[in-house]
């Protein structure tokens, strides 16, 4: 799966995302705020003490001060400086932890927020503003995800319609014309015409298949569960791939983008099975995984399994698999493709965190 892992990295890079910052913070080229202010304050205290001594007891300047007096003064200065550092740390601390948080925030999943951000200080205001910015970034990303997916779908729909309205209809007309020619042709000519007819019928079939793959018919209308059932039926009917499906009833209402991505992943995975796996059957499941106690932490999992050849060892991800990964990444879902452990064939998992979706 190294190819897949590389691909992951590429996608993450291409999207300008970074996982949690892996490196330690880079060395700073400046004196930190705490040390600077504490240093200045300490210097001021020392100067103030020296000046006070000089002003109040000028007579003793030349004389040696008593050891006890020196100790008391030094002790007092030290206490003041330490108290200063302690107080300053409380002021500067939140700014430092905000910096740490900002550096480590997970840009793939913009759900984290600075804890305990209250408008009780400048640092608190800064934290609040930062949280607001994260929220804006999150909603902006959701919007653009929806826009990208919508644009892709519109384009596919347009191509499907062009194929159907132009190419498909022209081929139908050619087929009708050939039928006439065929009935008038004689001898060997008739066989030639028949061969051409077969070719045209095949292309017509192909055009129809491509157009059907391009548009998820009735997804808006039927919803994900029924559309997947129709999809499975069509593979069984038209491609001779026996697809058994199990779809959990009462799934939560999903955002349209999530439904679209799940549908497309199922479609692409089944297409791959039909084309490459040499398997005559496949199974499709859609349901929640894991703990039933803690509903908030559930994932929605789509599984497509076949019983064929499995993935070659050093499989280079083709356009289909890349497309699935990119779509999954758009909705913050994970896609995993592995050879089945329990038998022959391959398994595709799409894991969509429901928590993030429902919070959105």
């Amino acid at each position: 799966m190294t190819a897949v892992a590389n691909r992951d990295a590429q996608i993450a890079e291409a999207r300008g995302h970074r996982r949690r910052h892996p490196k330690a913070a880079t060395p700073r080229g400046y004196v930190p705020l705490l040390q600077r202010v504490a240093g200045i304050n300490a210097a001021l205290v020392v100067v103030a003490v020296v000046v006070t001594i000089l002003v109040l007891t000028p007579a003793k300047v030349s004389a040696l001060a008593l050891d006890e007096e020196v100790a008391v003064v030094l002790g007092a200065v030290a206490v003041v400086v330490l108290a200063n550092v302690y107080l300053l740390r409380r002021v500067v601390g939140p700014v430092q932890s905000l910096t740490r948080f900002a550096r480590e925030v997970d840009l793939d999943n913009l759900q984290d927020r600075v804890p305990e951000a209250r408008p009780t200080s400048e640092a608190g205001e800064l934290a609040l503003t930062f949280n607001e910015m994260l929220s804006r970034l999150d909603s902006e990303r959701r919007d653009s995800t929806a826009r990208v997916l919508r644009a892709q779908e519109d384009e596919r729909l347009r191509i499907a319609q062009e194929l159907h309205d132009q190419v498909g209809q022209d081929l139908t007309a050619v087929l009708l014309g050939l039928s006439r020619v065929s009935s008038q042709a004689q001898g060997g000519m008739r066989d030639d015409v028949r061969a051409v007819q077969d070719t045209v019928r095949n292309s017509l079939e192909e055009v129809r298949r491509i157009a059907l793959e391009l548009r998820p018919e009735a997804l808006d209308d039927l919803g994900l569960a029924d559309s997947l059932a129709v999809l499975a039926e069509r593979f069984s009917q038209q491609l001779g791939l026996e697809v058994s499906y199990r779809i959990e009833p009462d799934l939560p209402v999903l955002p349209p983008e999530t439904e679209l991505v799940a549908y497309r992943v199922a479609q692409e995975a089944l297409t791959n099975v039909a084309r490459h796996s040499a398997s005559t059957r496949a199974s499709l499941t859609l349901g929640r995984d894991g703990g039933t106690q803690d509903r908030d932490r559930d994932n929605l999992v789509l599984t497509v399994r076949d019983y064929g050849l499995g993935m070659p060892r050093h499989n280079i991800a083709g356009a289909g698999i890349r497309g699935m990964r990119e779509r999954a990444a758009l909705i913050g879902a994970e896609l995993e493709i592995t050879n089945s452990v329990s038998g022959p064939g391959c398994e595709v998992y799409l894991t969509v965190p429901l928590e993030a979706e429902e919070r959105g």
Partner: protein, 208 residues
């Protein structure tokens, strides 16, 4: 879609063809090349007479209201109203013609919708011209070619219909006539009519 079940439809009597021996055919398809292809194909067959080839459902209805038609060959997707709308309208004429839906897509949901629209046959545009001619002859002689729905798809179809509509759909799928459907379920014809339109809307979903 293989249309297997062939059932005689008694509501269309042979007497309707009257003294004419040629089958009068109306073609409705919004694609000019397909219209031309059909025109040529039907002209070659001695037993067919092409009454008109028009592009829209409304124009097709006008022709059928004016002239007597035996078989209407209708594309499903037309510019405005679709072929199933036309099918329902044609079936309300005093002398209803047989309706053959000639469509690029013939998969599950459309097949179910053609049953509700009382069409007599559903033929794929991928079939050969000779097959289409055979289908025209078949429906002209009063046979219906009802599509066979795979059982699980039938279930998903029924999900889109309420209880009464499901009952209606089941009876139509079995080739039962409307009057009998109404009598069986204890419905008025008006109620059945409005249910049929609602079912068609439910099954066809968004246009496209």
């Amino acid at each position: 879609m293989s249309s297997v079940a062939s059932k005689p439809a008694p509501r269309r009597t042979e007497a309707r063809a009257g003294s004419r021996d040629r089958t009068r055919v109306l073609v409705v398809d919004d694609h000019p090349a397909v219209r031309a292809g059909l025109r040529g194909l039907l002209a070659d067959e001695a037993d067919f007479e092409l009454v008109a080839a028009v592009a829209t459902a409304e124009a097709g209805l006008e022709v059928a209201e004016r002239d007597s038609i035996d078989v209407a060959v209708v594309d499903y997707q037309l510019g405005g109203r679709n072929g199933l709308w036309l099918s329902r309208k044609l079936k309300r004429l005093p002398q209803p013609p047989a309706v053959l839906i000639y469509s690029a897509y013939t998969d599950g949901l459309l097949a179910a919708a053609t049953v509700v629209a009382e069409s007599d046959a559903l033929v794929s545009k991928g079939r050969l011209g000779a097959d289409l001619c055979d289908a025209v002859r078949s429906v002209a002689s009063g046979r219906r070619q009802l599509p066979q729905l795979p059982p699980r798809l039938g279930e998903s179809v029924r999900c889109r219909l309420d209880h009464e509509q499901q009952a209606i759909f089941g009876l139509l799928l079995a080739g039962i006539e409307l009057e009998e459907v109404a009598a069986t379920l204890g419905l008025t014809m008006a109620r059945l009519e409005s249910q049929l339109w609602a079912m068609l809307r439910g099954l066809e979903g968004p246009p496209g």
